[in-house]
Symmetry: C2
Subunit: 135 residues, 2 copies
């Protein structure tokens, strides 16, 4: 898909089929662990090696192209970098979803209280998702 090629080309790393596969996978599933990515990509791309997934995740993180999402009780997941947002995690099924929340006030308050110069915010809310609540 042209879309991803252009995105990748903007950073200074080469566009390889393996990298495109990672990006496409993340675009489809949004949040995946290294192992999930590896297993998913192997289906379409059996020769890919786990080391390549690691190397590329690290390279693309250095480029700021993807980001790590640390969630309680799970392995880290990765997502394409987009505008800042928060996450909700279902403690029953493990699903991770994006959510757009205004953290202006909270961040301001934090800066005042701590005297830190705040640069990044990571908010992860854990609970039960609608479909798990139903069952």
């Amino acid at each position: 898909m042209q879309k991803y090629e252009n995105l990748l080309r903007e950073s200074k790393i080469k566009v390889t089929p393996q990298r495109l596969a990672i990006v496409e996978e993340l675009d489809g599933h949004v949040h995946m662990s290294i192992e999930e990515l590896y297993e998913a990509i192997k289906k379409k791309f059996p020769s890919i090696s786990l080391a390549t997934v690691y190397k590329n995740i690290n390279a693309m993180m250095e480029q700021g192209f993807i980001q790590e999402v640390k969630v309680p009780g799970q392995k880290s997941k990765y997502e394409l970098t987009k505008k800042p947002h928060s996450h909700v995690v279902c403690e029953s099924c493990g699903k991770v979803e994006d959510i757009d929340l205004d953290l202006e006030k909270v961040t301001h308050r934090a800066a005042n209280l701590s005297h830190y110069e705040i640069k990044e915010k990571a908010l992860v809310l854990t609970g039960i998702c609608p479909s798990c609540k139903a069952s």
Copy 2:
């Protein structure tokens, strides 16, 4: 210290010198990684094994006695469980500090938007601490 013994005794795990050492260390330093804990405790308690630290961290987490704090770009740290709070991390020196922020509104909004039943909130703010800003 009697204080910690009583705390530990409340949960259903045995009070051992190794566990007391972990708790005292965490009470003093607030946020430590497994390796930091191990190295610190070894000084006062040279016979302790890394496996024991792991086992005890896991046991005490199951008891809800301590909690894992996942911070961007660092290994997980652990803290004694106390009333809910947020964290600020200095991206320069790596220090992690507690901060008391009101997340009521944000949580409410999140519940409305996501239809999740929210149970836990983990907010980690990253930035530059006052002393690193000075230098």
